[in-house]
Structures are given as structure tokens and as C-alpha cells.
Amino acid sequence: MGTVVTIDVYTTDGMAGADVRRQLASARAILQGADAVFSTWKPQSPMSRLRRGEITCAQAPAEVAEVLERCAVARELSGGWFDPWAMPGGIDPTGYVKGWAAQKALAALCASEISGAIVNAAGDIASVGGLGPGKPFRIGIAEPFSPRRLAAVVELTGAIATSGTYERGKHLIDPHSRRPAARVASASVTGPGLGLADALATAVAVAGQSGLDLIEPLDGYEALIIAFDGTRHWTEHFPFAPREASPPS
């Protein structure tokens, strides 16, 4: 997938290092495994072979069918604005896989007594827990016009994904016209699962402001968009962090 993943684990006192080490190793193995199966840049990956028609979905590893099924759900929920089947060059579930793999890696870290963990796949973030009891993680959203600033800070429960035209490496394709398109500068989606949040963020970035209407009825998912004119729009319960009186020293 050609991306960088950082994993932060916040432990409670007294947790054995060997446990964390083992969990990090399995989290890493999950990410590597997902890359090996789904990379569209590796010519011999099952996904690449599927794209070329050399194998069928049934001949591919089981998680291919699982991911494609989830992609179909995401396509449905996004009103067709997220559509891996409408990508140039054939089916491409990359927009779902990165978040899905990060979410799976996160699950590998949850086995023991940690206060929280963050898996950050190049700005798309899956999390569990927080810094401690009553201290949720705070995640900034990059300001699309002036990345020197943060557009917002959220108190994260679960996952957040952000899509936008300012980001290199993400070419947003309008599945209806099958051409590059984005109708807002940036779209962020929070929710319980990063795979779906990522797919929905892509969908909203392409759909534009009307994309908020797709997210509002989805249980647990919220969205914030920043329009090209700088105006902001969000769903009713978008988890903005309360402003702090002063930064901690």
C-alpha cells in the first residue's frame, strides 16, 4: 500500500513489555499480510492477479471476498459515491483496505491491559481507549488551505479518516463520471470502524456538501467538511473537542 503506519500503545502501569512486544509483532504481521494480499503495486499479489483476471475471487485468499463484501456495503451506504468497481484500471479496494487493515492491527493490541492505542495509517487513524480514564485521545484535523494550522481538534472514540484534494497520493475519482473530482477541500469522517470511515470520507469529498446527508442517518458516524471557500459544515454530533483554556506545559 506504500504507506507509513505508526502505532502508539498507552499502557497502564506494570504491564509486561513482552506482552506489548508480542502484540506489536502481531499487529505488524497483520499490516504486512494485508499489504501482501491487497497491494495493487505488487504484480504478483492476489489482488493484482484478480484485477488481471488470472484468478477468481474464490481462488483468492478468503479476506479478499470479505473486503469486497464490505466494499459493496460501503458503496451502498455512500449512495455510490465510494465505488471500488468504478476505478480506472479495474477494481481497486485500496481506499477501504488501508483502514480495514489498520483496524485489524488495532484489534491485535487490545488483548491486554492498555489504557489506549492508536494505529495511524498516514493520517487515517483507528483508536481504542484513551490516555487514561476520562482522557480521550485528541486528534487534529489538518487545515486544507493552511496546513500550518489545525482546522479542528476532535475527541476521538474509534476512528477518523480525512480525504481531500490537498493530499498527495490520493486521487479522488468521481465514480459517476470516472474522472478525478472533489467537491470540497477536505472531508473527515469519524466512526467505530476505520475501513468504512475511510470509504465514507472519500465519498463525501467527492459528493460535496450533499454528502453530509449520507452520513447523518448512519449510526455512530459523523462528518465534517471544509468547502473550497473555507466554510465548514458538519453532522449534528461531530465530536469536536472542547477548547482548552491554555496548552499544558
Binding site: V5, V9, D13, V20, R21, Q32, L150
Partner: protein, 167 residues
């Protein structure tokens, strides 16, 4: 509360994990994870702009573990390991006063000298430097919507901070 992390970086073709283990108060040395493939020479993609699945190298010089506790008011500087990013290799230098970051900058960068990578770097790097300062003052644990370049930047910065016994 400041937490002492362990930074683990290794090379994985197409995907790299920077694994940070925060714990209070003990330092734990985890070293390099088993199964990490050998380091590969830095690669520069043949064309800018695309998100190739290129390999990313980990720390050439792992940060020291168990550093002394930060002293208030003491100014110290550390350079993070050289980390691959989309267009080449960079390392980050950080200066702290006590436990506060006072300066973040690029210690070294090799982007292959291609026009496109250079122009992107010239735009992105001052932004990333500022972002690091901003992130600190906003007391956040991550940024959503960060770019590919920033991930390499963050990895090196994280290791540099760690070598100073911070975050």
C-alpha cells in the same frame, strides 16, 4: 503527563511500521521486532506524484534507550534517524527546552534533486515543521489528513524526541 516511549522502526517492503510504546514510568527496551527484513538502500521513485508502494527504511541508528530525565530549562538537541519517504530520505532535528519543543527542522534531506520532489518538499517541509509545533501546543496525539511526507517526518521526529527522553 509525559510518557516515555519506545520507538521501533524496521523495513517492510511497501509498508513500514513505526511502533511506539508509551508507558509510565518504566523504560522498556524492545529493540527491533523479529521478522524485519534487511534494510534496503534508499530509493527515489522514478516519477513524482504517484503513491508507489516503495520500501521505506527504518532507523539506521536506533534511538538510545533510558535517557536521563529531562531537566527543566535545559536546552538539548537531537537528530532522528534517516527515514525514507515518497521522494527520498530525510532526517529531522529537534531542539527542546526542558520538555517543550522549541525548534524543529530538517537535519538532512535527499530527494533525488528532481524538480517535482523539490518543489513539493519546499512547500511541505516548512509546513511540517510548523505542524509539529502546533501539534504540541494543541496537545494532540495525531493529525488526520497528514500527507505521505509527513509520515516520514513524524517517524524521524518521534525517534529524535525519544532519544531526548520525551514523548
Amino acid at each position: 503527563m509525559k510518557r516515555a516511549p519506545i520507538v521501533i522502526m524496521g523495513t517492510v517492503a511497501g509498508l513500514v511500521g513505526t511502533l511506539t510504546f508509551h508507558t509510565t514510568p518504566a523504560h522498556l527496551s524492545l529493540g527491533t521486532l523479529p521478522g524485519t527484513s534487511a534494510s534496503q538502500p534508499p530509493t527515489v521513485p522514478g516519477s513524482g506524484g504517484s503513491s508507489h508502494g516503495h520500501s521505506t527504511s527504518g532507523s539506521s541508528s536506533p534511538p538510545k534507550q533510558g535517557s536521563a530525565k529531562p531537566q527543566p530549562g535545559t536546552t538539548r538537541t537531537a537528530v532522528g534517524p534517516a527515514v525514507n519517504y515518497n521522494f527520498g530520505v530525510l532526517s529531522v532535528k529537534v531542539t527542546v527546552s526542558g520538555t517543550r519543543i522549541t525548534k524543529v527542522g530538517i537535519a538532512s534531506i535527499n530527494d533525488g534533486g528532481m524538480y517535482r520532489s523539490q518543489s513539493i518538499d519546499q512547500q511541505a517541509i516548512p509546513v511540517l515543521e510548523q505542524e509539529a509545533m502546533q501539534a504540541q501546543s494543541a496537545n494532540i496525539q495525531g493529525v488526520s489528513g497528514a500527507s505521505y511526507t509527513s509520515a516520514g517526518f513524524a517517524a524521524s521526529l518521534q525517534a529524535a524526541l525519544h532519544s531526548l527522553g520525551l514523548r
